[in-house]
């Protein structure tokens, strides 16, 4: 039985973060991009929890994680609303077609 140390948590966190980034960069669908962002946020959560567990910071890490979960929920709600509006205007939600800021 291998003892799970800080490094293992961090490895999982990095894997999640990389997956999230990969998702954000490669997906066309805006919803999929949002899901990538969720992955990134959660990898950060794992980091916080791990450092809180193995470090000497008290409960600050856990509290931060709770905040991030709440924040992620709020973010998801707002972002989905934006996506709905984009869909209304452009009748798709492809990220690579949203380049009207270019000019």
């Amino acid at each position: 039985m291998i003892h799970a140390g800080l490094t293992h948590f961090l490895i999982i966190s990095v894997a999640l973060f990389s997956l999230g980034i990969y998702g954000v960069i490669t997906r066309k669908n805006a919803v999929m991009v949002l899901m990538g962002i969720e992955l990134i946020l959660n990898s950060a959560n794992i980091n916080f929890i791990a450092f809180a567990r193995f470090g000497n910071f008290g409960l600050q890490g856990q509290i931060f994680a709770l905040f991030i979960i709440v924040l992620a929920a709020a973010e998801a709600a707002i972002a989905l609303a934006i996506v709905l509006n984009i869909y209304k205007n452009l009748s798709n939600i492809n990220v690579d077609e949203m380049d009207s800021l270019k000019d």
């Binding site: 954000v24 960069i25 991009v33 990220v95 690579d96 949203m98 380049d99 270019k102």
Partner: protein, 692 residues
């Protein structure tokens, strides 16, 4: 008295201003000018009367500080005072000026009637009278110089009064320019006096000279200064060699010739020499006498052959002024001033008489077209005759008294110093004067009329023109000046009114006979007569022979004139043919004008042309060269600007554009691209700032 003097000085000026400004509005404004002159005449007579009777020996001055320069760096304390000086000479001169000016005004009312610039003519006369009074009344040489130039201006305006005629306009210019030559000398003389004495006032200068303070501490420079100031008189009094303007000045209206170019303004030069007489040295007096003798002689010979009635009188004026100058040069001071007065009256009478004739003949001035006018114009004839007799020096006239004194003075001078040429010239000119005056009278008034048509139209002048003639001719008779018609020395004019001048020049620079005999009794600058007994004696012994000689010569001149022109015993034409060259020489005025044209005028023109060439080639060349160099330099700078500076600027712009082009590629508008950039940069930054 000073108040009256100031008032009569400025009355004509008031007349001038009022007449000039209102002349175009009010047709009768010239009466104002005449009235003003009448007041001036009355005032001057009052002054002369009071001065000569109550303050005979006194000199009345009044001055005020015009400019106070304070303590100047080099010259020290400088104050410029203006003021009025009334002595017997200026009081008498004022009466002469005002009287003749008034009579000329009266005469002009009729003579100038119908002229388009009638009122302006009277305004100019007022300006002239003002300036002339200024010269007479001033007590300093600066103010005299100012008024000196003012009479020059009014003379210029009046000579060129009919400026539509080119000859009149030219004559005005000639008078002005020729006068300028003399005035430059006078101005330099004034500057020498001022730098030496730091004052312009006659009296202060004289006092300092009498105390032995001389310009540059030498008698030679005193001589030079005197002669430089005399140069002004040479110009104004039309002395040889600057006499050429006066005959040409006859282009002006005839009353003007009478007032300015016969009686008053040309006498201003003599008046100036009278004023500075005290500082003249023996050398300067000799030169003055030579100039005077030449001016008496040359114009008299010219007057013999002239055919224009006014020109004869003009040359006669120069000749008489030469007499006065010569008299001053030989020391006959009293007679010089006396002759100035008498000459003013009879010459004004002659000129006004000629004006009357010219008026009657409808502006015919050539005496060859006249003749026989005696019957038509008796008043003019008899007044003209009296004045001619006076100028010829016939007894019982004023001219006899004064001219005789001058001749005696020059004779005495010759006896004392050995310069016998002066009396010879004097006596010879006396004969010439008698001859040409009677030639003029005979040709104009006697004989048969040579131009019937004009003769028929001729008529005696009206009262306003005849009255001045009568007044002036009466003033040419002896009893106004002395009770004794032969010897004027005891008359009131010479014994009482005209004082012998005080002499200030150092005694070693004066003629011996002008140094008083008893040095101990006479203070310098005192009221004593500064002539020696020797001179008075010489004058006394010479007087009777001189008188007889001058009478004989005048009689000879008159006789010759009658032989030539009245009785025609001698054929003038044959005589002229015999002496053709001499005749032409005189007729062409000794070729003075031609000589001046060839030398001075042409020289000036050549010099101007040379300077013009210099200007257009060298000065312009330098300017053009500078312009060329500047232009070349500018072109270079322009090129530099275009290529280098603009190149840099354009390069910068191009560079920015290029960078912009490159970097706009990164601006895709796609979120995911940006995110990639961010990631890549974060990784790069991580490696840069890595702490492991």
């Amino acid at each position: 008295m000073i108040n009256i003097a100031v008032i009569i000085l400025f009355l004509p000026f008031l007349g001038f201003v009022v007449t000039l400004l209102l002349g175009s509005k009010i047709k009768k404004i010239y009466y104002f000018e005449n009235f003003v002159l009448f007041l001036g005449l009355a005032g001057s007579i009052i002054i002369a009367f009071v001065k000569l009777n109550s303050f005979n020996a006194a000199t009345i001055t009044s001055e005020f500080t015009w400019i106070d320069l304070g303590n100047t760096p080099i010259m020290g304390e400088i104050k410029i005072n203006l003021g009025i000086l009334i002595d017997n000479i200026s009081a008498l001169m004022m009466v002469v000026v005002m009287l003749i000016s008034f009579l000329v005004h009266i005469f002009s009312i009729e003579y100038m009637r119908g002229d388009p610039r009638y009122n302006r003519y009277f305004a100019y006369l007022g300006l002239f009278t003002f300036s002339m009074s200024g010269i007479v009344l001033t007590h300093n040489i600066l103010m005299m110089y100012i008024f000196w130039e003012l009479v020059g201006v009014s003379s210029y305006l009046l000579i060129g009064f009919w400026f539509e005629k080119k000859s009149a306009a030219d004559a005005g210019k000639k008078a002005f320019i020729v006068n300028r030559i003399g005035d430059i000398g006078m101005f330099i003389g004034i500057l020498i006096l001022f730098t030496t004495y730091h004052t312009f006032t006659f009296d202060d200068i004289f006092q300092q000279i009498s105390q032995g303070h001389l310009p540059f501490d030498s008698g030679f420079w005193l001589t030079i200064t005197g002669l430089l100031i005399f140069a002004g008189a040479v110009g104004k009094s039309a002395q040889v060699p600057l006499h050429v303007w006066l005959p040409d000045a006859m282009e002006g209206p005839t009353p003007v010739s009478a007032l300015i170019h016969a009686a008053t303004m040309v006498a201003a030069g003599v008046y100036l020499v009278v004023r500075i007489f005290g500082i003249l040295t023996a050398d300067s007096m000799l030169i003055i006498a030579i100039v005077g003798a030449l001016s008496a002689f040359i114009p008299a010979t010219i007057a013999l052959t002239q055919n224009d009635i006014k020109r004869v009188l003009a040359y006669s004026t120069v000749s008489q002024l030469g007499y006065m100058i010569m008299a001053l040069g030989v020391g006959a001071f009293k007679f010089a001033f006396f002759h100035l007065i008498t000459h003013a009256f009879f010459k004004a009478c002659l000129f006004l008489g000629s004006g009357s004739v010219i008026h009657a003949m409808h502006h015919e001035q050539d005496i060859r077209n006249m003749g026989g006018l005696r019957k038509k114009m008796p008043i003019t004839y008899y007044t003209f005759l009296i004045a001619s007799v006076a100028i010829s020096g016939v007894p019982l006239t004023s001219g006899f008294l004064s001219k005789d004194g001058i001749l005696a003075g020059s004779y005495a001078f010759a006896n004392l110093t050995g310069h016998y040429l002066f009396p010879i010239v004097g006596f010879f000119v006396a004969m010439l004067t008698a001859f040409y005056m009677f030639r003029l009278i005979i040709l104009t008034f006697h004989g048969e009329p040579r131009n019937k048509e004009k003769y028929e139209h001729a008529h005696e002048s009206k009262f306003t023109m005849a009255m001045p003639l009568v007044v002036l001719s009466v003033l040419s008779i002896f009893f106004w000046y002395t009770p004794n018609p032969v010897n004027p020395e005891n008359g009131w004019v010479l014994s009482d009114w005209i004082k012998a001048p005080q002499l200030y020049a150092p005694e070693n620079t004066r003629y011996e006979f002008m140094v008083p005999d008893e040095h101990t009794n006479v203070q310098p600058g005192s009221e004593e007569i500064m002539y020696s007994e020797t001179y008075a004696e010489a004058m006394h012994t010479i007087h009777i022979p001189a008188m007889i000689l001058s009478l004989l010569l005048a009689g000879l001149g008159i006789l010759l004139a009658y032989l030539f022109y009245q009785w025609k015993k001698i054929d003038v034409g044959k005589l002229v043919d015999k002496f053709k060259r001499l005749y032409n020489f005189s007729l062409n005025k000794w070729y003075f004008d031609e000589a001046y044209d060839a030398t001075a005028v042409n020289g000036t023109l050549r010099l101007s042309r040379l300077l013009g060439k210099f200007d257009s080639t060298i000065v312009d060349g330098i300017v053009n060269g500078t312009a060329f160099v500047t232009k070349g330099f500018s072109t270079f700078i322009g090129k530099f600007d275009n290529v280098v500076v603009d190149g840099l600027v354009n390069f910068m712009a191009y560079l920015s554009g290029f960078i912009g082009l490159v970097f706009r590629r990164f601006q895709t508008g796609k979120v995911q691209t940006y995110l990639v950039f961010v990631l890549v940069s974060v990784v790069i930054l991580l490696f840069i700032f890595k702490s492991f």
